[in-house]
Symmetry: C2
Subunit: 288 residues, 2 copies
């Protein structure tokens, strides 16, 4: 038996030894690149690679902000998670459209639609402006979101997509963030605990992101969570994804948040949306 | 006539007075929101709003990185510049495809194609991986780029789109950046002066961006340049666009550039592309 003092010395030295072998604290190249997410939020496919169930679904609809949807799409895709775009807009015949037009006049093709998709591991609801407010009054879409939410691992929004989760009753009592536009007031309208200063907020299974480009940061935070088995708590895998995206942002000037924006510029932008009655409309949206 | 000492005092105080009336150093709300770019890089349209000529064209092709294209697309669109996606991929019948599939399996519809677009004010060439290297050997596309470049105000690339500009001979003797992957060596291969540590580089009419998300920063820098008439040298208008995008990035961890990435992670990512022979392929691409 070792004397007690030697045991004490060993206890002191062992962490140093682990630190000295730091290079071993990484998965091998092959292991890192092939690492599976846990929980596995990739879609289940059959032997012919046809979709069966689950996965990450990003709702798209006419008037969606394309970046709200594609920031998370590209981030999850670069992480090997095979996200899907899910159409929530019907054509004149009552069929879900496969081609959706963003509010920047960009057309994108949905992989699936809410009529043929009943379960997802992760739901992402991107925002926009007036069409998003309209979506938040669409009972069929809200009922689908409520039904899907019962089985998701995470239900999320980007930007004013929070209005849609809010109208579906999913933000009640939840800490949440949103696009900067009258954020605290409109989050409170939907029963949320406003945290609009935050870039993204995790509260249980509900994750909300701030406006537009915040969807990239929110998606990276989720990537870090599900690739925690990289031996560094998700840091290595997330850094791999960030390098793939070369996501080392350097905006040419300060800005992007109300407190970093000149008051005259903030006033002009809020006035523009107020002028068209957007906040007034959202203040009337009921929780269904 | 005022005594000379009073004139000196006035000269000292006048800048302070201008500073005190700072609120007047902004355009009105209406003027700021309606501000026209100078030079005007919006497309020329006829009385029925049909496209005639000019504008910002973003090249898309099967295998393009969707974010490389859509980062600038969304940024320019939020700035009111009405960018267009231009198809550069032909179908089996030799017609330009209108629906392009990104390397993340996202389908987007092009507004125009290189067969029906002969002049642009701004050309953006996004990157990707193997399909981008292939594009850089496509003589028809390179000839179109060279012809369009003769009349552009700015010719730009995002990420490995620099390989395509390089193969078209447009980077020779120009300071340029690119995606991090063997950046300095491959920029030098195309005759550029490598500046790969920079997020974006302006050299005369050539603007290059680093990888993927750098396209947002590059586009914002161009927005600042063309909206210089906002009374603050473009700062106000750019802040308005950044607020619209809520572009105040806060990645969950440090990363996104080689020097901010753990060496083991950087090694794994570079090895992955090297394993498939990407750099070896690009090293063989001639300047046409």
């Amino acid at each position: 038996m070792l004397p007690r003092s030697l045991l004490l010395i060993a206890a002191t030295l062992l962490p140093l030894a682990a630190s000295a072998t730091d290079p071993a604290r990484h998965l091998s190249r092959e292991e890192l690149i092939a690492l599976a997410p846990s929980p596995d939020i990739r879609p289940t496919v059959d032997a012919t690679k046809q979709y069966v169930s689950g996965g990450i679904g990003i709702l798209i609809y006419d008037g969606v902000n394309a970046m709200d949807a594609l920031g998370p799409y590209q981030t999850f895709s670069s992480a090997g998670l095979r996200p899907m775009l899910i159409s929530a807009t019907k054509d004149a015949q009552g069929n879900y459209k496969s081609v959706i037009t963003s509010n920047s006049n960009m057309q994108m093709t949905a992989h699936r639609n809410i009529g043929n998709t009943t379960d997802l591991e992760v739901l992402v609801v991107p925002g926009g402006a007036f069409e998003t407010a309209l979506l938040a009054t669409n009972t069929e879409v809200l009922n689908w979101i409520k039904a899907v939410d019962r089985n998701t691992i995470w239900t999320t929004s980007v930007c004013t997509g929070s209005w849609v989760l809010g109208a579906a009753g999913l933000l009640q009592g939840k800490k949440a963030t949103s696009n900067w536009y009258h954020a605290d007031e409109l989050l409170a309208h939907f029963g949320a605990i406003p945290k609009s200063g935050q870039r993204y907020v995790f509260d249980g299974k509900i994750i909300t992101g701030a406006g537009v480009t915040a969807g990239i940061d929110m998606a990276l935070a989720l990537v870090k969570k599900v690739f925690q088995n990289d031996l560094n708590g998700g840091r290595d895998y997330t850094q791999a994804v960030m390098l793939e995206l070369q996501y080392d942002p350097r905006p040419p000037i300060k800005g992007g948040a109300p407190e970093k924006t000149d008051p005259a510029v903030f006033d002009a932008m809020q006035w523009m949306y107020d002028y068209f009655g957007l906040a007034d409309y959202v203040r009337q949206i009921p929780i269904q």
